[in-house]
Symmetry: D2
């Protein structure tokens, strides 16, 4: 019996429109390292979507690489990056940020989110400490939109955080690995244009949002990261056949594909959340994006896993476990229906 | 008028058989990070091709990343990597190795190759120096096959270098970014099996040998690099959709595709070398692989560049320039014929 | 009016016996980098005091340098160091450990101490996590004896932690910046010999225990850190005139000077604690070593600071502050008496 | 029979005036980390000697540490430091600069010195290379005054190098480990004031010029290295008892001690050079500072080494060796006379 796959949003290849475009262009000849016309078209499309006409746009291969490269390139060597204690760079990136020599300054979060006041209190306390110059200086705030728990920041929340950053001369960087699903979430009021206005850098996730692989880093102020190209190379993050990333992002930003990818993931997750609630399951952490966190009785989970591949998130207590069911651009109504029957 | 592209061996997408396979498998669901069945099949195929049944095989995204990750993972922190002064890690990787904290110990080379005696003399001199323990210890020899100049090491040469490595307890690592073209070169006597016997690690290049992107690192002794998976992640070199690399390498190692890729690049380069010699051009550095280095009169070069995209390698003198014309799996006889007409 | 100095245990020069010895030997000629006879004599004295005849002993300049060098030299690149959240490397070393590429894995502590069970639970949980190989591997436990709060581990506690380290194949490293004061503390049952048996490495603090500067790293198993000498040099931690460190540690381990230094600091601190309690002050964190943490009413503190230089530790609430009063080898009964009059 | 020591300029303790001052101040209480009055007085004296009233002055423990800390703090992560191939950071510092992630860009030198034209040609060639943004950017020129071979740059030479630095927006940093001996050399026309005008940073060596240990980094523009204090701490290069460095440098810059130290070393070396020439020895590399490089017949060297401790520099041929005889503040006429008798 075939299993149902809800373990993650990167378990298929790429959106068929992307694959089609890669096929069509496959034998064309282009220059390397992202200097080709497809990459330039994709940059233009992203600048346009962000209404940021001077922005620098760089394509990198994956999320950990992107985070480590951007963070190391924006921080001075005595600085660290503030992140939610549940943030990806603080947990699941094998110390990639520390490997570049920078501490992750983990602060308490709520539902995966950092509050502006938490950051403000921390930095204010830091600066009041007599020994602050013996400690890692907070040089940047790292957020992800959506967060590790699929929750999203509102525009007002981001503006407050931005103000704290300006107050203390810290950079603001947003990890958008699953950005498509935030942009299309019910209640979301944060646009790409807002991100370009509020952030010193952010990335538009491709790997988890329909691409084979790839992330697009947007640096709104073109002078913000001098020699970033060389630093990307230095981090081993420069793709020789850059056009492969350019073609994919060009496609994602043509005919609203990025919106459609996000919308499908969100719609399927909403359907699933409704089914779960109807069946009396407890959602561990309600959120409006493409990840569904459910509390499962361990016996029931064992039976479910015979049919469904899901992510085991954490043990809640001796008899209950939190699991994650992720939808994506590839999830169909039939998939949800089949899953519903197993629940 | 369309230009002819001979600038590099990474100017197209992927070999059509690979694209076809990516299309066929696109909507299948798999686990992430290279734990999927396709990656495991590719590993098995590579182990078999290398006759190294216990070898660990890891798939990474690109060459600089692979070199930095392998070198940093194999060296102790007080060690550096010996390389030819013309070697890629010493010139064109933006200090990626130094970024991991290790010095590249550049030694004089001939036609891109390091001689065993050069290495032996260097290390012997190092160890005789009273202050050796104030200096960077030579922990590894880095070679590339073929070299930056397209030349190849013979089996006897590699065996001699291996002996020097054993004598001084150094690791041997071979960068095979263009390995397909070395394996199929006229006069080559070094097989994948030989590499697996002689090296502590080497990589089988995909990016320049028919794949969209990707390199396969082979570690013959499975215990040689403990926790290498985590270090790959730490270097930002772990691909979330690992199956994309697995599918590509599975395809390259099915029905002799890797051999065919290499054979075509070599045959087309040989044809081109013959044409150049017939027309009286001087080859700057004769070699049997897919890169052709030619000395061009600057005026003639200017005319050529109106029709042909090539790599300008270096100024030879005030009126002559060395250029590189690269062939690949994608070069056709028609391309060579068209180029011949421009020469 | 002269102030009273209780701000730290490094506010004077060196113990007079050390200064005398530096004067006596000042014009002698010796070899550099710790290869001289004085350094060798000091090593022999320390080996003897630790009853560890094969131990390697290295002299470094200061504590942060020593911690960063030892930790980076003992950890593989994918490993981090477990430390108390209040530990020095986690707070006041400006990210020196992260600068070497390693994460500090901070765990909850009580009175500055890590419990064996806390470590065990953390590592067990880590290894049970499906994604453990995406995370920083716990390669070492870092403790300090005494802790940042002047508390000490008992021999039984260290043995339990050692067992956890062995269970998970982690190294144990102890920072002994103020070790003299732990060795002489009332109730202490941990000897240098015990430390040499229980630790993979530890350091005997000089800077805060009577030396001008310098720390002695003891590595009981001589093969435990290959090429450590070169790594010390690489970290900029090798003293050219190594004999200055050798002479100082030789002196500290002659005629029981290290014991006398510790005993004086402890005796003076005990006297001070008694006075404080008699006067009704609240000790913030009782401990048996040379640091006295007191809760002060803010108004009273302001008056005290007119006469006494102390360390402001942290604000307890709006009207109370925790201060630290430190004694040392240099503190006299007259100093304590004068301080008592100000309290 | 007592040996004669000419192996280095760091084989004794400190100049007696320094030891005296350390003794006099030994029991005084001061604040830590270089915030004390002695450190501030020394800073003022150095600023005055450099006629650089706004300069920041930092005291670090040793040369390798100073070089690694200053270089890493001044370079962006994509930049490397140009140095003479014979420069100390390129040879004898165990990869300390690479450990911080930066490449040393070694250029050919003559008598230990880099020529402005060599630097200009290199950087011009670099910038003309199509692939320059794949390579390590030259961000700084590292010189030492005097050089590894005891030679000195003239003011005109430094001005030319400074111009090249300005032309390409590179920093200029000078390692003055033995600066006292350059300042007092016959024919020297470079003053501390000149260095402060020409350099972005330089250090005034203490360890080899009369101090127990310590180097004084001068940063003429106080805004040139933001947060340098924290970076010093991060590199483990911050001395807890900073006053020990402050007292020493205060003493070196009182009553012309630094000049006297330099003058004695130079005078004794000049005497020795005269004796060697009179006796028909060949000076390997003539220079006006405190290091004397002599070509010795191997048999004669063996006999000399029975009486004299010297540094073996390198084998010249099968029967001749280059040795170094170093003088210092501590060398007496009697020492030179005794050595003369052995020659």
């Amino acid at each position: 019996m075939t299993k149902l796959y809800f373990a993650s949003d990167y378990q298929e290849g790429a959106h068929p429109e992307i694959m089609k475009r890669l096929m069509e262009t496959n034998l064309e000849h282009t220059e390397g390292y992202g200097t080709d016309a497809y990459s330039n078209q994709a940059r233009a499309a992203i600048r346009s979507a962000c209404k940021a006409k001077d922005a620098m746009v760089y394509f990198l291969g994956g999320g950990t690489q992107t985070n480590a490269t951007v963070i190391a390139s924006m921080l001075a060597s005595y600085e660290g990056a503030i992140a939610a204690d549940t943030g990806h760079i603080n947990v699941h990136e094998a110390g990639a940020v520390e490997y570049t020599g920078h501490r992750v300054l983990a602060l308490p979060s709520k539902e995966g989110k950092l509050a502006a006041t938490t950051i403000d209190t921390f930095v204010a306390g830091f600066l009041k400490d007599d020994s602050w110059d013996h400690m890692v200086y907070p040089g940047m705030v790292y957020l992800s939109q959506p967060t590790e728990y699929g929750t999203i920041y509102s525009k007002a929340e981001l503006e407050q955080i931005r103000e704290v950053c300006l107050k203390y001369n810290m950079k603001l960087y947003i990890d958008g690995a699953r950005l498509a699903y935030a942009l299309e979430a019910d209640g979301n009021d944060v646009t790409l244009e807002d991100l370009a206005k509020l952030c010193d850098a952010f990335y538009i996730g491709g790997t988890k949002c329909g691409a084979l692989f790839g992330e697009a880093v947007v640096v709104p102020d073109p002078k913000a990261i001098p020699h970033f190209f060389t630093m990307i190379k230095q981090h081993g993050a420069l793709t020789a056949k850059g056009r492969i990333l350019g073609i994919q992002f060009g496609c994602l930003f043509t005919d609203g594909l990025y919106e459609r990818v996000g919308a499908n993931g969100v719609a399927m997750a909403n359907r699933l959340r409704q089914i779960l609630q109807d069946k009396g399951y407890e959602l561990y952490m309600p959120n409006p994006t493409n990840q569904v966190f459910v509390v499962m009785d361990n016996d029931r989970l064992a039976r479910l896993q015979e049919r469904v591949v899901c992510s085991v998130w954490e043990a809640l207590d001796d008899s209950h476990t939190v699991i994650r069911l992720a939808t994506s651009w590839a999830t169909t109504e039939a998939d949800i229906q089949a899953l519903a029957e197993c629940l």
